[in-house]
Every structure is written in structure tokens, then in C-alpha cells.
Amino acid sequence: MNTIAAAKIILRGRKVVGGCAEGEALVTRDTISGWGGIDPMTGTVVETHHPLRGVSFKDKVLVFPGAKGSSGWSAAFHLARIAGAAPKAMVFNVMTTKIALGAVVTRAPSVTDFDQDPLSVIETGDWVKVDGDRGVVEVIKKTS
């Protein structure tokens, strides 16, 4: 057990998809394309100029501005869920039909409309707990 209690940060937002999940954060300041932007079989970002190119969101809490690109966004993330490569939860800023439908069919607890910008608070590697029903996101900063 870690004897030093890590600082917890609480973000409050609005439920998109209910349920609870926790995991390591994967953060990007760039929007993500679904179809044509990810490989659904591995959960890896493939978009040519994307900062996360080659990185997988499988089993991570994906923290990002939102969705862009093809209308196949939901189907690509849906396929990632079936392939076992979906993110555990989603935390994002900009609501679009792509991400709303995508989050629903990925069945990943998801929250948006926060009281503070998750992209400024959460860093890749932080431990994040997402309570979709209450719209609460708890962040435990990584120690190293």
C-alpha cells in the first residue's frame, strides 16, 4: 500500500453514458477520427498527422476534445468494443452526434460539459475514475 495519500482532483460534468469504470488516462489535445483514423482491431490511432499515431487506447480512459471525420465513428468504436480494444471510459469536451452515438454503442461510461477543462487537469498516466451516472470524474495524479 502506498502510505502517502495521492492528491485527488474532482471534475463535475454531465452524464453521456452511465456506469463506472477506472483506468490509466490517455490524453490528447487533438480530436480523433473513428473510421479511417483508428484500427478497431487493436484500438490504435492511425491518422497520419495525429500525435497519438501508433498508440492504442485499449483499456485506457480516453481524454480528448471530441470526435471528427467520417460518420463511421460510432461503427469503428463499436467494432473496437467487439474486438476487445475499446477504451474503458471516455472524457471529452465537445459534443457531436458522432461521439454521442459512439459512446452509447461503445457502452463506455462517458462524461462531458465539465466545470473545468479535463485536458488541462488530466495527463497521460494519471489514474482516472469515471462515474457516468453522477457525471463525476476523479483524478489521481501519477507520482513519477
Binding site: 471528427k68 471525420g69 457531436t96 452526434t97 458522432k98 452509447v104
Partner: protein, 429 residues
């Protein structure tokens, strides 16, 4: 969400289990959006029930891989299979996975073709028009001004809103399939007047005339405004349908543009004031010679090797004029040995191209006119392709990323020249 009595009855199962699952999914989707009600939709374009071999095999291992299984469990996000009734309204099927005749040339297996044929028969049986194209508006489904639609395919969505004046959000596979059964979609975004007003002013300071130039401008604007609504003014020629098609598709790829206004051109922008509503633009962005040069270089940043082995035309699916232009450029000429040229279009447009002899002219030169799909959607390339030449900014955005190949971007003429010589010689003129 507030439901009408009809919607409540549907949710209780009065209209059968498939419509119950469909409205349940649409309610979850509407609540995720923060929508308060549904709007009735009469024109729905999607890809119902289609499945890759992976998806079919997955469901086979988990209870059943029939069309009905895939439709229930993927399209309606249901945990059980429910009977799939006939759809209502004007519903069409967008692009598919392979050409119905040239599938072997595309590298597809007889099993995959057989499976595609079965899926297509199911689509027909359920009352869904088999248009098999990303350009339904060129193949028999043109939304009317003000018509509430539920469309997917980002290039078709942006055309529907901006050029036709139909009203649709960018829907996905699951929401369009659910809308085919229910005639409902969340009333959000582009269904209301407020959601259709421009947000960013784009001042064009360099002449934009050619199809290639409209594609580059679209690619620049999408990157600049992301998911916002651009209002374009400046040195623009009158865009025709092809220019709108390439502009919108590009803006929807580099960003998430679902609607644009060109002042004096598109139907909801008779004036700058009308396009913006009562609001001031949040930003004014200039597009001049330097921006034009930068976007050209960005679209060519995947190209290294000047040896081109594949030319792909028809993204979004080619209009009859575009096929006619390709045929004219290829008349009496031969594509260089070992190189391929594939031009993609809809079945409806290809039937006219056949009639005019364009398909034969292109075939005589060594090229092929294909329908239903494209290299990105079908994940198909001529064998051994390492370098492709493209006249579509949208296709440049996707194909190198999906297939791991190099790509050059230029005009249709540049691309056909590359097919004839095997070398890329395009430049910004």
C-alpha cells in the same frame, strides 16, 4: 427526453421488438446528446446490416451470424436477435464493400462476394433502395429543401445541408438503421434554424476556380474551423455540383464540417447577414496564395517516390461529367504497363457511362470503372501498390493512413498523366 404517445407506445413494444430496440437506442443517443425530443424523418441513408467477415465470424461464434443477427446486435445495439420488419419512408443503402462484377480484380474472395450478395438481397427484401454509393444525390435520392433527413457519410451529409438545404446531422450506422424502423431522430444540431447559422468567416483572396482548387479550399477550411460552420466569401467562381462535392468532402475530412455557406451561392446564404444570423463571426480566416501553397504541400506530404503504380479517381463517387472527362483524356491512349487506373462511381451513373461508351473507352485504355465502393471503404488496392495518385483531398486524407501507402494529390489531368507515364509530374499551377 420528452416522448409523444406514439413514441411511448413504440418503447413499450406495441410496434414489435425491433422498433422497441430501435427507439430505445435512439433515446439513449438523444439523452447522450442532451436532446429534448425527436423529429420525424422521411429520408434515411445508411448501411444497414452490412458486415465484414470479422463481424460475421464474431457473431457466428457468439450465437449466430445471419443478417438479422448482425442487424439486431450491431445496428440496434441489442443483446438479442429480433425479427427485422420492412422499413418505412424513403430509405437507401450507401456505399458497399466491393464491385458486383469486378470483385475478383479487387482481390475479394468468392466467399466474401457470396456473403455480399446475400446481404444485398436482404437489404432489398426489407424495402431499402440499393443505391450503393456515397453520392445518393447523384443516384436518385436528392433531399428537398427543408426536408428532415437522417443521413450518414460525411460527404453526403455536408452536401445535403449546404447545397440541397435538407436537414441532417452526421448520423452513424446504428442511428440510421434505427431511424429506418422508427422514422425518428433526435431533434438536435442541424434540424433547427439556430444550429445552421455560420460561425466562421472565410475570406478567399486567391482565385478558386478548378475542382482541384475547390478541394484544396475545402481541406484548408475543415482544418481551420474543425466542426464549426464556415461562411465563404471572396474570389470564387460559381461552383457546380462537382466542385461542391469535392469542397464539402474535403472540409468534412480535415475537420468535421457538416454545413457551409457560400454567400450568394448556397440556399441559406442569400446574404452574409442571412448566413450568420444575428451573430458576429467568432473569427475571420484568410485564404491567400501562401495558404493555398501550404495546403497543396500538406496534401502531398505522403508522396516520396515519383513512380506511381495506381491512380484512383471517383472520391466521392464520380458524376457522369467526371467519367466523361476521364474517357476524353484516355481516348486512344494506353495506361503504362504494370500500372492501374480505377474510377469509382454509383451503379446509376455507371449505366449512363456504359450507354455513352465511356466505360469501354476507359477499359480499352487499360482502366476500369467500378461501382459500390472505393479503395478506402473496401480496403482494396491493385496488387503491389506502393504509390497512388489521387484527385480527391478526402481520399488523400484517408487512403495512405488506412493502407500504408504513399500518395500524390493533383488534378484529374495530373492523375491520368501519371497513369499514362507511370510518373508523377503534378505541380501547383
Amino acid at each position: 427526453m420528452r416522448l409523444t404517445d406514439q413514441e411511448k407506445a413504440m418503447l413499450q413494444g406495441d410496434d414489435g421488438p425491433a422498433r422497441q430496440k430501435a427507439i430505445d437506442l435512439l433515446i439513449r443517443y438523444g439523452e447522450a446528446l442532451g436532446a429534448e425530443r425527436f423529429v420525424d424523418v422521411t429520408n434515411i441513408a445508411g448501411v444497414p446490416g452490412s458486415s465484414t467477415m470479422f463481424l460475421q465470424n464474431y457473431y457466428k461464434q457468439h450465437g449466430g451470424g445471419s443478417f438479422e443477427d448482425v442487424f439486431s446486435r450491431f445496428d440496434l445495439d441489442s443483446d438479442e436477435t429480433v425479427p427485422f420488419p420492412k422499413v418505412g419512408g424513403n430509405c437507401c443503402h450507401l456505399q458497399g464493400g466491393m464491385d458486383p462484377e469486378l470483385w475478383a480484380e479487387q482481390g475479394m474472395s468468392p466467399e466474401a462476394f457470396e456473403h455480399q450478395q446475400q446481404d444485398e438481397a436482404e437489404v432489398r427484401r426489407h424495402g431499402i433502395q440499393v443505391l450503393k454509393t456515397c453520392t445518393p444525390y447523384l443516384a436518385g435520392n436528392m433531399p428537398a429543401f427543408g426536408e428532415h433527413c437522417a443521413w450518414m457519410e460525411s460527404s453526403a451529409v455536408v452536401f445535403c445541408n449546404s447545397v440541397a438545404g435538407g436537414r441532417t446531422n452526421t448520423e452513424g450506422r446504428e442511428s440510421t438503421s434505427a431511424a429506418m424502423l422508427t422514422g425518428k431522430i433526435p431533434d438536435w444540431g442541424f434540424h433547427g434554424d439556430e444550429g445552421r447559422r455560420g460561425t466562421h468567416l472565410i475570406q478567399v483572396d486567391v482565385p478558386v476556380e478548378s475542382v482541384m482548387d475547390w478541394g484544396m479550399l475545402g481541406y484548408f477550411i475543415g482544418d481551420a474551423v474543425q466542426e464549426n460552420i464556415p461562411v465563404v466569401v471572396g474570389k470564387l467562381g460559381q461552383p457546380d455540383l462537382i466542385r461542391h462535392k469535392h469542397f464539402g468532402a474535403a472540409a468534412a475530412s480535415s475537420g468535421g464540417v457538416e454545413m457551409y455557406h457560400v454567400v450568394g451561392v448556397t440556399p441559406e446564404a442569400p446574404s452574409l447577414e442571412a448566413a450568420l444570423g444575428s451573430k458576429k463571426p467568432v473569427a475571420t480566416i484568410h485564404y491567400g496564395p501562401a495558404e493555398r501553397r501550404r495546403v497543396y504541400e500538406s496534401l502531398n506530404s505522403n508522396g516520396r517516390d515519383l513512380n506511381v503504380d495506381y491512380v484512383m479517381l471517383g472520391c466521392p463517387h464520380a458524376s457522369i461529367e467526371q467519367i466523361g472527362e476521364a474517357a476524353r483524356l484516355l481516348t486512344g491512349k494506353k495506361i503504362k504497363d504494370g500500372r492501374s487506373l480505377w474510377l469509382f462511381t454509383s451503379r446509376a451513373v455507371k449505366s449512363v457511362a456504359d450507354l455513352h461508351g465511356y466505360t469501354k473507352t476507359i477499359r480499352d485504355s487499360g482502366g476500369l470503372v467500378m461501382t459500390d465502393t472505393c479503395s478506402a471503404i473496401g480496403r482494396m488496392l491493385p496488387k503491389g501498390t506502393k504509390v497512388v495518385a489521387l484527385d480527391s483531398a478526402k481520399q488523400v486524407h484517408y487512403l495512405p493512413a488506412i493502407m500504408g501507402i504513399e500518395a500524390w494529390f493533383g488534378s484529374t489531368e495530373d492523375c491520368i498523366q501519371a497513369a499514362l507515364t507511370g510518373r508523377w509530374s503534378g505541380e501547383l499551377r
